[in-house]
Structures are given as structure tokens and as C-alpha cells.
Symmetry: C2
Subunit: 184 residues, 2 copies
């Protein structure tokens, strides 16, 4: 049995359901950060995932066929997460997208979420003509493509948060884990 469980992105964001599933697992896989967030619930053997690759996922799936396995996913497994990459049932968690929407007070139904983290997503930027855009980005992303549109930048959501409101072209990205929100 294999379950992919969202552990949120900040301390204290694990749901009761997720905590129970984690505590019942014989084997727990996850990134260092995910393991740290879930540590007080883990009773089984812990394996840190260091390479996020297909071969690793296949190996985990094999173990899941034999044992009660949980794969921890920071945030929500279905938001730029492991849920679509590993076979198994998914238990949701709080994602950085939700934290960002809470900050800018915009409803998900008025937004298109774009993954531009460690990849190009330029072919989706024209969707700004239809909805607000929430872009998962890194230092390579250039907000100036959206010119003078109203925008927000959110870095270090759980820690020493940096939240900047302004024109898209004026935003200055300092970290490799950043959310850029652009209003239509």
C-alpha cells in the first residue's frame, strides 16, 4: 500500500487525517524538509529521498507493493508535487499556492496557476488576458514580461517572509523559491 501525503509547507499544517496515515506507515520516504515537518508523527523506518527521479519513484512503488509505505510531499502532492509522479492514493496538504492566495486575498477560481520553477512557461503567460496568474518561480523568472501590471511577490512564506506589492516590472526576485502573483 502506498500513500502520498501532503505535509504542508509551514510547521503545524499537517491535518489530523494525514497525521494518522503517517503514524501508521511501516516505511516513510520524503525530502529532508518533508521529514522534518512530519517527524513527530513518524514511527516507521525513514528514508530520505535525495534524487527526485523516475528510477527512485519506481523503487518506492515496488516497496509499496509489499509494505505500508507513505511518501511525504511538502505542500500538497497535487501542486507541483509527487502525486502525479508516483502511483498511490493521495492525501492533500496545505500548499504554498494556498498561502499565497490567502495573502493576496484572491480566490483560486479567478486564478491560473503556472509552474515556472526550474522550467520555462512562457507559452502560458498570455493567459493574463483571461485570469490573474499565480506563478511558481525562481531567480530565472523575469516579472517584467508583465510590464506595469499590478503584481505581488512572496518569498520565504513560513520563515522570514518577504511580501512586496508593486508593478510587475519593478519586482526583484531574490530567492529560488518564490511566488509571483500578477493581477489581470
Amino acid at each position: 500500500m502506498l500513500k502520498i501525503v501532503g505535509v504542508g509547507i509551514c510547521d503545524g499544517q499537517i491535518t489530523e487525517r494525514a497525521a494518522k496515515i503517517i503514524s501508521e506507515a511501516e516505511v516513510v520516504f520524503g525530502s529532508k524538509r518533508a521529514i522534518s515537518l512530519a517527524s513527530k508523527y513518524i514511527r516507521g523506518k525513514i528514508f530520505e529521498i535525495k534524487k527526485f527521479e523516475k528510477e527512485v519513484y519506481s523503487e518506492i512503488e515496488k516497496i509499496g507493493a509489499e509494505k505500508n509505505v507513505v511518501v511525504l510531499s511538502t505542500g500538497d502532492p497535487m501542486v507541483a508535487g509527487l502525486g502525479s509522479k508516483i502511483r498511490g492514493t493521495v492525501e492533500p496538504g496545505i500548499s504554498s499556492v494556498q498561502m499565497a492566495l490567502a495573502k493576496v486575498k484572491e480566490d483560486l477560481c479567478n486564478v491560473v496557476v503556472i509552474d515556472a520553477h526550474a522550467k520555462s512557461a512562457e507559452n502560458e503567460f498570455d493567459l493574463i488576458d483571461r485570469k490573474n496568474l499565480l506563478i511558481l518561480a525562481d531567480k530565472n523568472f523575469d516579472p517584467s514580461v508583465f510590464g506595469k501590471k499590478r503584481a505581488a511577490l512572496i518569498e520565504n512564506i513560513c520563515g522570514n517572509e518577504r511580501f512586496v506589492l508593486g508593478r510587475a516590472e519593478d519586482l526583484e526576485i531574490r530567492s529560488d523559491y518564490v511566488i509571483v502573483f500578477v493581477w489581470r
Copy 2:
């Protein structure tokens, strides 16, 4: 102080952070369902919201200026929720959108979420040419507009769940709280 707190949509989906915020509130507002989901954490006075209208929200905001108020929101406050309608800080919760994505195993970054619950959203349906669509719908929604496209229907997510995979035109909606997922 006013906080709008997501309580998830099924039992056991409240996060540790949300539980703490709820337990510290002097006054708690929410729908019958939201109050039921959060009941074990509530210590303050409880007021059921029966009319979801601007006047009610203004009244709640006034009380929030005097006391430590929590407004409970089923699911996530920023997913067709109260977060964009009431002034206050938002604490995320697990939404029906997340439950549906977990079920169909599709990542939010490949999806546009559309609110067609108790309203028309036809002007957004052409976005199917760009991304998968996740539609919050009711009995008035007609999935056949998407013809023979691959689609899924999810009703009663936490209870006696009904999950149907098929062609969009063949899906039969039976309830007023339904999610229709249409693959691009």
C-alpha cells in the same frame, strides 16, 4: 481581530494551526457544516451564519474590531469561499478542489479551476483548449458542452462518494455539489 479559517470538507482535515486559532477565538461564526467540522476545538460563543450576504459580513467585521473573532469556512477560504468576501487574515484548509485533484491524479498547474456553482461560467469553457478544467458545478451544469472529451464526475466527496469516469457528454449529474473534471 478577525481570522477566516479553513476547516476542510471532510472530518479530520483541520490542521494543527487552524485548531489552535479556533480554540483561541472568543466568538466563532460559520455555516452549520463548518461548525460541525470544527466543533471539538471551539471554546468561544458560536453563531451560525444562515444568510451569506454582504450585510452579514459587515456585521461580523464590526464584531472583529472589538473581539477575537474566527469565521469558519468549509474547505479553503480562498476556493469559492469567504476569504475574498470578509476582511481579515486567512488560514488555509483542505478544499474540494484538492480532493478532486487527488482523485484524478492531475496537478493543479495543469488545470484551470472554474466556479460554475449557482452561476453561469460559459465564457470560460474555451480555456479547455489550453488546460484541463476543474468545474465546481450544480445540477444546472450541462457537461455535454465538452462533447466526447474524457471527463470525471465526483459527488459526495466525504460521504457516499460517487466517482464516474467517461465521456463528458455521458456524465449524469445527480447532486447540487459536484465537481466535473474535463481533460484537455
